[in-house]
């Protein structure tokens, strides 16, 4: 659950506007390069100088991965119901409504059907802009229904994960979404329908420990933070500094937990090729 501690602003063409006076430019977090937003969009929100992958939202991934206008969203307006009447320094119900307003999203995942190079897929994409991409009942339910759609229609499933983990404000309900989505994936696997999991920065906690790690093929964007425990917690526990590159995509590749790292510009073609092989 890294979302609440992040020190830097989310990087997206929308949220970055504040940094640069006329709102036309973005700064690369990695190398400091100033890039015009038009250029950045043409470059699929990657830095032309150092290949840093800017954190982007579900709409951008939809435009990158799916054929134009092919996405039909399912359960679009499903929203959280605050089952525990949870309150910390703020009421969860208020947090939800404020986030819906601010982010233009209903919750932390968009699910639906679309096409990749003409081939039908069920497509889910998480969104870090919604309470850190955290998984509560809505994310769990929408992902589960998307898996069911793939199961019933016998079409491949692609999920792009981007999440700080399970959503604390729904307590045990959030935890159970891990089990819920995994049981559905087990059924999908028995039916031999392919599931490709794409990991974006960051994918941690309960999402990693459930559907994100259960793809037939698991791929990740470069340098994405991927893990179970957050780096801060680990550092606190062991009382030592963490090694360079720890819990990044390259580290997971080296340790055998992902199949390959994909540049955003090749993402669509790689997904298309994999789907072609597996279905």
């Amino acid at each position: 659950m890294a979302w609440f501690k992040r020190s830097k602003q989310n990087i997206s063409p929308h949220s970055k506007k504040t940094d640069i006076p006329d709102g036309q430019w973005s700064k690369c977090e990695e190398c400091g390069e100033i890039i015009h937003n038009k250029q950045l969009e043409l470059n699929l929100w990657t830095c032309s100088k150092c290949n840093y992958h800017f954190r982007i939202g579900s709409d951008q991934y939809i435009s990158i991965v799916l054929d134009k206008n092919s996405f039909k969203e399912l359960n679009k307006k499903m929203i959280s119901d605050d089952p525990l009447a949870f309150e910390d320094t703020k009421k969860y119900s208020e947090r939800i409504s404020a986030t819906i307003k601010k982010s233009n999203l209903y919750d932390a995942v968009k699910t639906g059907v679309g096409k990749i190079n003409g081939k039908k897929v069920v497509f889910c994409c998480m969104d870090f802009n919604f309470i850190g991409g955290s998984m509560g009942s809505v994310v769990g339910e929408k992902i589960s229904r998307a898996i069911d759609e793939a199961y019933k229609s016998k079409i491949p499933l692609v999920i792009i994960s981007q999440s700080g983990g399970a959503r604390m404000m729904e307590g045990a309900y959030s935890l159970m979404q891990m089990a819920k989505t995994s049981t559905r994936l087990a059924r999908l696997a028995e039916a031999k329908i392919p599931y490709i999991s794409v990991l974006a920065d960051p994918t941690t906690g309960g999402v990693t420990a459930s559907y994100a790690m259960l793809g037939d093929v698991i791929i990740a964007e470069p340098k994405a933070l991927i893990g179970f425990a957050g780096p801060r917690v680990i550092k606190q526990t062991i009382g030592k500094d963490l090694p360079e590159g720890f819990q990044r995509s390259e580290f997971l590749l080296e340790n055998g937990f992902i199949d390959f790292i994909v540049n955003r510009k090749q993402l669509k073609e790689q997904l298309s090729l994999l789907i072609n092989y597996l279905s």
Partner: protein, 316 residues
């Protein structure tokens, strides 16, 4: 005299000490009536306290260092236990134990988190915090159970999966995810019992099953009250409020439809009477087993998928 007294238990101890003190003079003075009155008072006080525990107090009881752990239940409930070790991939994780056992007429595979009692055994057990090999050992034993058609019982009691460099390197997330996936389709009955702390993915990693039982004074949630406090309140001082907000007790989870049944504990907690606690749990497990063993694997798995499918609250 009992050690490990929790703050809210102090009035009980004071009264009990007083009774003990009076007993010393019982031979010389006629005070048996006074003692009797005090004993009744103590019982009343205990009922008062233990039946009105706050959520945080229950969390404290769930972590009580004298509570029975997995191996205690195995010793008290079963016979002929054969402990099985290792994940066949990397090593034997001491934070998860498991093996074959007989629960009266039922041959079972029993697996659970295992904490230690003192510094030395806690280090040996890594405080009940598994590494990936613990989850992989559990999975190996479950597959063995499936192969030989033995029901599985898992016992949850962990402060969480271990957050360490090597744990991440060896795929803590993958190990837990894999267990959720494989347990979803295991062809034998699985009964899950929360016997102490059910902390997040580290607990759920052996927690997918057909029946979920929770001992009366335990907790199960997505995060511990302390961590929740440190994240949402940005301070460690709000653990009581966090526990209240998380609604993490057995009663809460029954109401939320996440667990099936609460197993009552002896007055004062499971540690006050191991024999009674184990007997109560054993009876419940046998009742559940007698139902589950009648189901065909396909039905069992379908019910399991439906069971977890219902968990969650949202508005459409």
């Amino acid at each position: 005299m009992a050690k490990n007294i929790l703050d809210f238990e102090k009035p009980i101890l004071e009264l009990e000490n007083k009774i003990e003190e009076m007993r010393k003079y019982e031979g010389e003075l006629d005070i048996s009536n006074e003692i009797k009155t005090l004993e009744e008072k103590v019982l009343q006080l205990k009922k008062n306290i233990y039946e009105n525990l706050t959520r945080w107090q229950k969390v404290q009881l769930a972590r009580h260092p004298e509570r029975p752990y997995t191996l205690d239940y195995i010793n008290l409930m079963t016979i002929d236990f054969v402990e099985l070790h290792g994940d066949r991939l990397f090593k034997d994780d001491k934070a998860i134990v498991g093996g074959l056992a007989k629960l009266d007429e039922y041959k079972i595979m029993i697996i659970g988190h295992q904490k230690g009692r003192d510094t030395k055994s806690n280090l040996y057990r890594n405080f009940g915090m598994p590494n990936p090999e613990g989850y992989r050992k559990a999975l190996r034993l479950m597959r063995l159970a499936e192969k030989f058609n033995l029901p599985v019982i898992t016992m949850l009691d962990t402060p969480g999966a271990y957050p360490g460099i090597e744990a991440e390197q060896r795929g803590q997330a993958e190990a837990i995810a894999r267990n959720l996936f494989e347990m979803s389709k295991l062809k034998v009955p699985i009964i899950v019992v929360i016997i102490g702390e059910g902390a997040s993915g580290g607990a759920l990693g052996i927690g997918v099953g057909d029946r979920i039982l929770m001992l009366q004074n335990t907790w199960y949630s997505v995060i511990s009250p302390e961590s929740c406090s440190s994240i949402l309140w940005r301070s460690w001082d709000y653990k009581e409020q966090a526990a209240e907000s998380l609604k993490l007790t057995a009663e809460d989870l029954l109401e939320q439809g996440i667990i099936d049944r609460i197993i009552p504990e002896p007055l004062g907690g499971a540690h006050k009477n191991y024999t009674l606690m184990a007997a109560t749990l054993k009876t419940a497990l046998k009742e559940e087993l007698s139902q589950l063993v009648k189901l065909k694997p396909e039905k069992l798995i379908q019910n399991r998928i439906d069971k977890f499918g219902k968990m969650g609250v949202f508005v459409e």
